[in-house]
Structure formats: C-alpha cells, structure tokens
C-alpha cells in the first residue's frame, strides 16, 4: 500500500487519539446501560401501555433489543475489522501450507474466524489453497469455519442470550469445522475436485513482501467494516427483532415445547434439514432464535437450526460446484450437517 498521505504522527497526537477512543468507549457503555430503563419509560410511562399487556411487552422488547443489538454489533464489527487487518488470505495460506493434517485442521478453523473472507471468493480461495499444497480436509476446515463461526452471530447470542450460549456456539462451531474437515480429509476425496483445478500450480511463497500497515489504516478498516456490515444487516436485525417481539408478546409460554422441546427427539434433524437450504444473515436469525428459546424450544435444537442456516446454503453449493464434483459437495453437506445434528443432541442432552 502506498500511503504517501500518511506522515508519522507526533506522540501527543497519538495519545490524543487513544484518549478520544477511550472516551468514545465510555460513552458507548453509558448509553448502552440506559437502554433498558429507557425502553420501559418509553413504552410504559410515555405511551401508557401496560407491562402485562401483549402489545406493551412486545413493544418494550422491540425498543430495548433493537438499539442494544445494533450498538453491540457496531462495537464488535469495528474490533473485528481492526483484527482482520492483521490477516490476509495469503498469509493464512502460507501458514497452512506446511502443516500436517490434525494441526492444520485446528489452525484452519481458528484462522477461518479472523481471515477476511467474502463468500463470493470461496472458489478462488479454494483453488489457491488446494493448489499450494494445503490438504483438502484442512481447506474444508477453513471453508466451514469462515461462515459458521460468525462474529455477528456471536455478538447477538452474547447480547440476547448471555455469554454461556455464545461460548458454546463458538466452541462447538469450531469443533464441527475441525472434525468435519478432518473427516473429509480422511475420506481421500481428491479425485472429486474438478480436474482443471489440479492442473493449476501455485505456490504459497509467491506473495510480495509484507507491507507495514499504519494504525491509521487499521482504524479506517474498522470504520469501513462498520459502515459496510451494519449498513447491510441493520434491516435484517430490525426485521428479526420485530418477529422476535411478536413471538415474545403473542405466543404463549411453552407453546413450542411440544415440537421444539427436548422431548421431541426428531426435532434436531428436522431443524437442520429445514436450515440447510435456507440462507439468512446471522443478524436476522439470532433474534428469532432468542424468541423461540423463550417459548420452550430446546437450546440444542435452536442452535442446530441456526448453524445449519448460516454454515450451509444453496447459493454456496452452486458456486462450489465449479470446482467440486457433486459427490464431494454431497459429502461436504452430509458431514457438516451430521456434525451440527450431533451438536444439537449434545446440547439438548447436557442442558
């Protein structure tokens, strides 16, 4: 990056910036903590709705959750945007190229979280990894983890359901990516990659010298991520919360226990079957998940549904078909879906 417009800043200016950042963070917390009382004030005192009424409860839920989720989202996307400026697909490839399978699967799943990756470059990335000597199973660990362990889903689960659920999602999402990638590697499916892919030879060392990115640039990456991602998903967040608020206010407590509760053993595979072809943004699905849980759906079932919606999608399969033969796509979907179903049962069993 040629950044001739950036001159090194004197220390005092850097200090000033840090101070400003801290102040902004403090302000963020102050506002965040007032959201709940404010939503109550607005719906119960100013609008005169009763907390016991359905409409009142639904409105207060909506007025509280919307700003809360959007604020959490902006903060985390900013942070992740800065973290991602330290990683590039080229660097990730260089790290993974020399690794043995088991270690490679773990690393690939972890790097899948922090490497900037847009689903439309799944195919070039696949080619770049496989042709540079990253094992097929390790490549899959990356491709599974990148969409599945999603920072938006993580922050929403934390905001709406608490850190335990968020941690469970993070841990099991990584597990599925690691194990599914490892299994695919064990199956020796290399001949199911389209033959033209293997004719391309690339090496992991081809990338140019590492450039030093100034902090300025990293902060800018964070800001850009917020504008881009929050600008894109806010509408889904609001729609999701509105649906959630409707369920919160109008669906009776425990109504879903019979069909989505722990007792219904078949609900986990059914949830995954419904979720696989669906594609929704994590931002839209979590508020619905939150509401379903409140009404008696089992955590494992709901998490399995969410994971299958964000990790596997029809458009992605269509795009991957360009480099993978149908058998390998079927194996990929089958292995990941099985992993998600196991996670669903595990949660329902433990909790």
């Amino acid at each position: 990056m040629s950044s001739s417009e950036h001159t090194p800043h004197p220390v005092s200016l850097t200090m000033g910036r840090s101070l400003l950042a801290l102040l902004a963070l403090a302000l963020w917390f102050a506002v965040y903590r007032q959201l709940e009382p404010f939503s109550r004030l607005l719906s119960y005192d100013l609008l005169g709705l009763s907390p016991e009424s359905r409409g009142g409860a639904a409105l207060q839920f909506f007025l509280y959750d919307t700003p809360k989720v959007l604020m959490l989202l902006a903060l985390i996307v900013y942070g992740v945007g800065i973290i991602r400026s330290f990683f590039t697909p080229e660097k990730t490839r260089a790290i993974l190229a020399g690794k043995s399978e088991a270690v490679g699967n773990v690393l690939a799943a972890l790097l899948g979280i922090v490497t900037p990756f847009c689903s439309c470059s799944a195919v070039p990335l696949f080619i770049g990894f496989v042709t540079a000597g990253v094992p097929l199973g390790v490549t899959f660990s990356f491709l599974i983890s990148a969409p599945m362990v999603n920072e938006i889903a993580l922050v929403l689960l934390y905001g709406l359901l608490g850190w335990k659920v968020a941690a469970l999602y993070l841990g099991t999402g990584l597990m599925v990516a690691i194990v599914a990638g490892w299994v695919i590697g064990r199956l020796g499916m290399e001949q199911h990659i389209e033959s033209w892919v293997m004719e391309i030879r690339t090496s992991a060392e081809e990338t140019g010298p590492e450039q030093l990115i100034p902090w300025e640039e990293r902060f800018r990456a964070g800001r850009e991520a917020v504008v881009e991602i929050v600008g894109k998903v806010w509408i889904y967040v609001i729609a999701g919360i509105a649906v959630g608020a409707g369920i919160h206010g109008y669906v009776p407590e425990g109504a879903l226990a019979a069909i989505m509760g722990k007792g219904a053993w078949w609900s986990v595979p059914v949830a995954v079957l419904i979720g696989v072809p669906m594609y929704s943004n994590a931002a839209g699905i979590v508020p619905v998940v939150h509401a379903l849980l409140e009404k008696g759906a089992a955590l494992g079932t709901v998490l399995a549904f969410m994971m299958s919606v964000i990790a596997l999608s029809l458009p992605e399969m269509v795009i991957l078909r360009k480099v993978l033969r149908p058998t390998l796509i079927a194996v990929f979907v089958g292995v990941v879906a099985s992993g998600i179903i196991l996670v669903g049962y595990l949660f329902n069993f433990i909790i």
């Binding site: 001739s4 847009c118 391309i200």
Partner: protein
C-alpha cells in the same frame, strides 16, 4: 497499458472496476480495462482473493477494493 479487474461479479468486484475506469479517465491515459470473472482464468493469474487488480501482468492489489488515490499511483508509476 493493460488493466485486468478480477472478480466473480459480486458488488465489491464491480466497485473495483468502476474505480479503475474512473482513475484511467482522470489520469487521461490510454488503457484497456478488462473484467475477468472466469475462475479458471483468475486462478491462472495467481490470484485467489477477489477483487484484484492486475496491471501489465503485475498484481497490484488483492482481496480489496482499491481507493482511487491508490489506482492513480499505479497508473502514473
């Protein structure tokens, strides 16, 4: 000058193309801008994160939309 914008056709890729077109116009140089969306060709150029810009066979940027300032520097340099 031969400019290639590489990308399968997502929003970011067409934005990268737009910026290159605008930069060429501003620099006032004769250049041929080509959009490549075929994965096979992209891979052969040695690029695996898109959007990417290749000028006269040299990879200028990968995995991000360039800014117009950057683009102008490549064109003049």
């Amino acid at each position: 000058m031969d400019i290639k914008v590489l990308g399968p056709g997502c929003a970011k890729c067409s934005e990268a193309e737009k910026i290159m077109v605008a930069a060429v116009k501003e620099a006032g140089i004769a250049a041929n801008i080509e959009k490549i969306s075929d994965f096979q060709q992209i891979a052969k150029l040695g690029v695996f994160s898109t959007p990417a810009v290749v000028i006269d066979g040299q990879i200028k940027c990968v995995g991000k939309v360039p800014s117009k300032v950057e683009a102008l520097i490549w064109l003049k340099g």
